[in-house]
């Protein structure tokens, strides 16, 4: 867990409002666990006051890829970063997805929950795991990263909310389509994760989005309730105990 000024080496808008940025630094080599995230400082020393948590979407040698949607002030500042400038990156943070040695995995991503699944898919494929992917987007215009998934995955199912591409509906509406799997890995908004747990059951992992302060476990901003409340163990911190939890481990 380090804080580094990383060099922006490229950035492009891959769908309206969705940006893919590449950052270079020797320290990137330490980002080995898919599902972890980085905490990014934008703007000036005091403004905006909080960092922004963004998933690790890919790592190749010393190059980190992140994919983000422009929402508010922080991501607006990120999209303005030009190649050659630097970005203050804290990470890798949190614990990533546990990786099996073999078997069949189902990856389920919605919106900006999709990016970390790409790095996860690469790691799974490298271990010889069979990977099927459901990707949920808002609409055909909003598709991003899809080709890269298609290239590596054994099968990709796409859903769009408006039905303009693939299946109409949410990721869980494609449940009937999926092949048998040993475990699933899901990342997306809370409402999607709840639906995923209901639909696909307990054999899987979910990655949560919580509003964060410190990002390292010190401020208790990002907690979620554990279902199994062993003594002194009521709340888990999404930033340091998570963001990945076993399905059913925490209340979504």
């Amino acid at each position: 867990m380090k804080q580094r000024l990383m060099q922006v080496i490229g950035q492009k808008e891959t769908a309206p409002g969705i940006f893919e940025m590449k950052l270079q630094h020797d320290h990137v080599r330490a980002m080995q666990s898919p599902g972890q995230f980085v905490h990014i400082k934008t703007g000036t020393r005091r403004h905006p006051v909080l960092r922004r948590p963004i998933s690790i979407a890919d790592v190749e040698d010393d190059v980190l890829t992140i994919i983000y949607r422009v929402e508010g002030e922080g991501t607006k500042l990120m999209k303005e970063a030009v190649p050659g400038s630097t970005l203050d990156v804290l990470g890798p943070l949190g614990s990533g997805f546990p990786l099996p040695e073999s078997g069949r995995a189902l990856l389920i991503g919605g919106g900006v929950g999709i990016p970390p699944l790409y790095y996860l898919m690469k790691a799974l494929k490298a271990r010889g795991v069979k990977v099927e992917v459901i990707l949920g987007y808002r609409s055909r215009e909003q598709l991003f990263k899809l080709d890269d998934f298609i290239e590596l995955a054994d099968r990709v199912i796409v859903t769009t909310e408006d039905g303009s591409f693939g299946h109409q509906g949410f990721v869980t509406d494609a449940a009937a389509e999926v092949s048998a799997f040993d475990q699933y890995y899901a990342c997306g908004p809370g409402v999607m994760l709840r639906a995923v747990e209901t639909t696909f059951g307990p054999s899987g992992y979910v990655s949560l989005e919580e509003r964060m302060g410190c990002g390292i476990g010190a401020c208790l901003a990002c907690v979620c309730e554990r279902r199994d409340q062993a003594e002194g163990n009521t709340y888990a911190k999404a930033c340091s105990d998570g963001p990945v939890f076993r399905a059913g481990e925490v209340v979504l």
């Binding site: 020393r45 905006p48 006051v49 909080l50 208790l220 990002c222």
Partner: protein, 311 residues
């Protein structure tokens, strides 16, 4: 003696900089970044008699030059803190300021007694100003009479000096300060957060599950400086100043206003190295300003004899 060293009741500090309570947990996380022995002191997260779960999430929201938090005093309870967290911190050569919270006077007394007996706890900070819990805290913090009574009660059971942490959500901070000084407080911590709110215009609801939260960060600084300036002229106990400190210049401003040490909260979140960096920068700044000792600055904005600083 180094130009940064300061002596406060119970606290012999290498330098005047400590992380602020609630922004540093019990130090473990920041110890991954630097040696905690570099710090002047460590103010740890509030303790209550029993374990507390805190408030539902979201617990933080960003504002212009600030943030709102409504953690709600989540903590594992004073026993766990005294047995597991504070002993861990003892490996560092740094005095601990233990933050005390509760619902009732008895809560405060119990927690204070337990914490004050831990070897590396050199001072207590009475948190009578937490805006994020329904009972206790804030009531004590807005009524000088109750604050004084609580201070007296805690002073009786504490084995270390007691600092009272004041709330800015008041029309007369000087009345509060006078009341707790008279009741025996050894020092003051100023200030806790201002109560604020943000509403998400998409949902129409407050962003924080608790609705309101405490405003910290740069936005708070002018209020903190003003209150320390006012209070330091009317009490004779030292003040640990806090509220939006991000740069060495801010620390100098707090000292000029009347602080004798400072705490750094929100700045840790954007820069995990904020505290050690500030210590280095402060040393350099004092050198540039020709200030022999940081204490020389304390209260110079109002002390009659004070002229231009750089002479």
């Amino acid at each position: 003696m180094s130009r940064l060293q300061v002596e406060l009741p119970g606290l012999s500090m290498k330098n005047p900089v400590m992380p602020a309570s609630g922004c540093f947990a019990f130090g473990r996380e920041y110890a991954q970044f630097y040696d905690l022995g570099l710090l002047g002191a460590v103010a740890v997260k509030a303790a209550t008699p029993e374990e507390r779960a805190g408030n539902p999430v979201p617990r933080v929201a960003e504002t212009d030059s600030g943030m709102l938090n409504a953690i709600g005093l989540q903590n594992p309870g004073v026993q766990a803190i005294a047995e597991k967290e504070l002993p861990w911190l003892a490996q560092y050569d740094v005095p601990v300021v233990a933050n005390v919270a509760g619902r009732t006077k008895e809560d405060y007394m119990y927690t204070a007694r337990e914490l004050s007996r831990v070897a590396n706890v050199h001072a207590l900070e009475l948190n009578i100003s937490c805006p994020n819990v329904k009972e206790g805290g804030i009531q004590f913090g807005s009524d000088p009479g109750m604050a004084a009574e609580l201070t007296r009660a805690v002073k009786e059971v504490s084995e270390v000096p007691v600092y009272v942490k004041l709330s800015p959500n008041t029309s007369s901070i000087t009345d509060m300060a006078a009341a707790v000084e008279k009741a025996g407080a050894d020092g003051l911590s100023m200030i806790n957060t201002l109560v604020g709110m943000r509403i998400d215009i998409r949902t129409g609801k407050p962003i924080l599950a608790n609705k309101t939260g405490g405003l910290s960060g740069p936005a708070l600084k002018p209020v903190a400086v003003r209150m320390i300036h006012e209070v330091s002229q009317t009490v004779s106990i030292p003040i640990i100043g806090m509220g939006g400190i991000y740069e060495a210049e801010d620390i100098v401003e707090f000292f000029l206003a009347g602080a004798s040490a400072v705490a750094v909260g929100t700045a840790n979140f954007s820069d995990p190295f904020a505290c050690p960096n500030l210590i280095t920068e402060l040393d350099q700044l004092l050198e540039e300003m020709n200030v022999d000792h940081v204490s020389d600055l304390s209260g110079r904005s109002w002390k009659a004899w004070a002229g231009e600083i750089s002479s």
